[in-house]
């Protein structure tokens, strides 16, 4: 028993060391740094002053507000569209693997590259999107350069980029549903809507719960797509700034690591709270 335990520690050691140095230590370090001020090489204790600073900084509140709005809008919308597309491909389309591959492409492509392409699509004057909108006699806003549009633009981009992963995972879940479930439903004359809501959706609940967690965490950490869409800026006049953008800015550009770490701790707490809430909710819906 004893020697067995020793051996177990030996096998666990690489992981424990890795996790300690690259996950646990940085979290603790960030937490400690959030109470310190000054440049990285000469930090000194200043108590809650960093927290006082960010809480009174309108820039911070805008970043948090943008991040929460982005997460709360883009995640449900993306998930709903993913479910619809996955169900459509699964039940109606013949060459499933072709469409699956097509939808998976954005996932393996760099967000920066896609972002540059989208800069052209979204361009107010010669962009493809506005060309289409004008052809349909719809309003054609300036997606990139209008500060009031920048959050909308990021949400559209975010929805589009998260479809790939969601659809592939959902297709896998749909394939795992016993086809006899549908045969029985057909035999008793169930309509397409009944099949979907009474069999497909309940069977997808665990997968949706998983995707919701993954998507929400990813949404709260949004940075790359903002960077790519607005050419390294957080939108015109920082209109599209996000929590991670704020952290990066305070750390690298302004050079106040303490303030950045205080914001990190707040973001960490928000993500933890939302994940916890959402897990509780899914447990109630799933009922198992």
């Amino acid at each position: 028993m004893r020697s067995n335990q020793k051996k177990a520690w030996l096998f666990l050691a690489p992981t424990i060391i890795f996790v300690t140095f690259f996950s646990i230590y940085p979290i603790l370090r960030a937490f400690v740094m959030s109470f310190q001020s000054g440049p990285l090489i000469n930090l000194n204790w200043t108590g809650f002053s960093n927290y006082q600073y960010i809480f009174s900084d309108p820039e911070f509140w805008r970043a948090i507000r943008n991040t929460i709005l982005y997460a709360l809008i883009s995640v449900p919308v993306a998930l709903a569209i993913s479910i619809m597309l996955a169900w459509f491909i699964f039940s109606k389309v013949k060459h499933k693997s072709f469409f699956e591959t097509t939808f998976f492409m954005p996932y393996v492509t760099s967000t920066i590259a896609i972002g540059i392409v989208f800069r052209y699509i979204f361009n107010g004057e010669y962009g493809m999107l506005n060309f289409l909108l004008r052809a349909l006699h719809l309003p054609a806003p300036n997606w990139i350069d209008d500060p009031s549009m920048s959050l909308t633009t990021i949400i559209i981009f975010g929805v589009w980029t998260s479809l790939a992963f969601n659809i592939v995972i959902l297709m896998g879940a749909l394939r795992n549903i016993d086809p006899n479930y549908y045969t029985i439903a057909d035999m008793y004359g169930a309509t397409g809507t009944e099949r979907f809501w009474r069999i497909t959706m309940p069977q997808l609940v665990p997968t949706i719960a998983f995707l919701l967690t993954m998507n929400i965490i990813a949404a709260f950490k949004i940075y790359t797509s903002v960077y790519a869409l607005f050419n390294g800026q957080a939108g015109v006049g920082n209109s599209a700034t996000t929590a991670v953008f704020y952290i990066y800015n305070k750390f690298q550009i302004v050079g106040t690591p303490g303030v950045a770490m205080a914001a990190t701790v707040i973001l960490f707490l928000i993500i933890m709270f939302v994940t916890f809430l959402q897990r509780k909710m899914m447990k109630k819906i799933g009922g198992r």
Partner: protein
């Protein structure tokens, strides 16, 4: 109304898209209230027939009549059938009650929840699963899941119940118990049932009638005991019976049946059992192991390779003409492994099959 032909299948054929001919001209009928077993080895087409009856597959040609009305162009939901799948296919996210209610609460003819619940509860009582109402299928034993599946199949009060190998997911002991339960249940409800199985013992024990298939053709459509006593052909004789029948290669010439080391006079056979005239040529002489027994003088002499005890009987195994054969004897028989014995056949119980498997005697 034609109760003798409540279910009637006429010249049914099924050719799959890949050209595989699963069912070749099959016709049979089922009496109202009967429990009929569709028996056969895997791949013989029995499930294909069941799926065509259910409307899950379309026949290539032929007709299916329920209560004298053709249902070939009727959608599955309008055929008034209940179907029990091999793996039951209960909805894991629904409780037992919700599963049983499901057929009543979907589709065009769906009824109010409380009425559906009332009917569901009635059938749950019949199948003795009332106390499981709020459980999820994942928490139930195989036998309980089976009963939920049957209750769900019965809840729309179908005229015909179709069951596809419903016992194959259960362990051996439970299988014996459940097959009895199924028979009692369908008899109590009085529903006409078609039951697919590959297990002859299962078919013999619960079927009012058995239809034996092989390669998409009916081999015999008969009462259980006749498969044993009067097999239609070589395939039936070999498929039904445990231990399996003994087969000896023989040559018939001018009134003599000659095996590798025995000779039988055709005159010694029971004239009334001939299906047609015996012509000269090669045949297979088949005899059930209980009809070839040790005797002072016999047809065959052999050395016993092995003795196997099966309950109150013993199987003496011996090799004859390069083929293993068996003799089923009483438990008290003192014959041991290695003994040389003479074995005598009961000539009024042997069968003669042509090379094509057709029965002559």
């Amino acid at each position: 109304m034609n109760d003798d032909k409540f279910v009637e299948v006429k010249n049914l054929k099924k050719v799959y898209d890949n050209g595989h001919e699963a069912i070749k001209d099959v016709s049979f009928s089922v009496k109202k209230g009967d429990l009929v077993c569709l028996l056969g080895p895997s791949g013989c087409g029995k499930t294909t027939i069941l799926n065509m009856l259910a409307g899950l597959l379309n026949p290539t040609s032929g007709d299916i009549l329920f209560d004298s009305k053709s249902v070939v162009n009727v959608a599955p939901k309008d055929r008034q059938i209940g179907y029990v799948f091999q793996n039951y296919a209960l909805y894991p996210h629904m409780t037992v009650l919700q599963n049983v209610m499901f057929p009543l609460t979907v589709g065009k003819q769906k009824m109010p929840k409380d009425k559906a619940k009332e009917i569901a509860e009635k059938y749950m009582e019949t199948t003795q699963i009332t106390e499981l109402a709020d459980q999820k299928p994942g928490n139930l034993s195989g036998g309980q899941q089976q009963r939920v599946a049957i209750a769900r199949a019965l809840v729309q009060q179908p005229k015909i119940l179709l069951m596809d190998e419903p016992l194959s997911n259960l362990d051996a002991r439970l299988r014996l118990k459940i097959r009895e339960e199924i028979r009692n249940l369908v008899k109590k409800v009085g529903i006409t049932t078609l039951f697919v199985t590959h297990d002859q013992e299962e078919a013999l024990s619960i079927g009012d009638k058995i239809i034996l298939f092989n390669n998409g053709v009916i081999q015999q459509d008969d009462m259980g005991q006749n498969f044993y006593l009067e097999p239609n052909n070589y395939f039936v004789a070999n498929f039904v019976g445990n231990p399996v029948i003994d087969n000896f290669k023989v040559n018939v010439k001018d009134g003599k049946i000659t095996g590798s080391d025995f000779e039988i006079n055709v005159d010694d056979l029971d004239k009334s059992r001939f299906k047609r005239d015996l012509t000269n040529g090669e045949y297979t002489l088949s005899v059930r192991p209980e009809n070839i027994l040790p005797a002072e003088t016999g047809h065959v002499s052999a050395k016993i390779d092995d003795v196997e005890l099966i309950g109150r009987e013993r199987i003496l195994k011996f090799t004859h003409d390069g083929v293993q054969a068996r003799s089923l004897v009483d438990l008290e028989t003192p014959i041991k492994r290695g003994d040389n014995v003479n074995l005598k056949m009961r000539l009024d119980r042997v069968f003669l099959f042509t090379k094509e498997g057709e029965r002559v005697y």
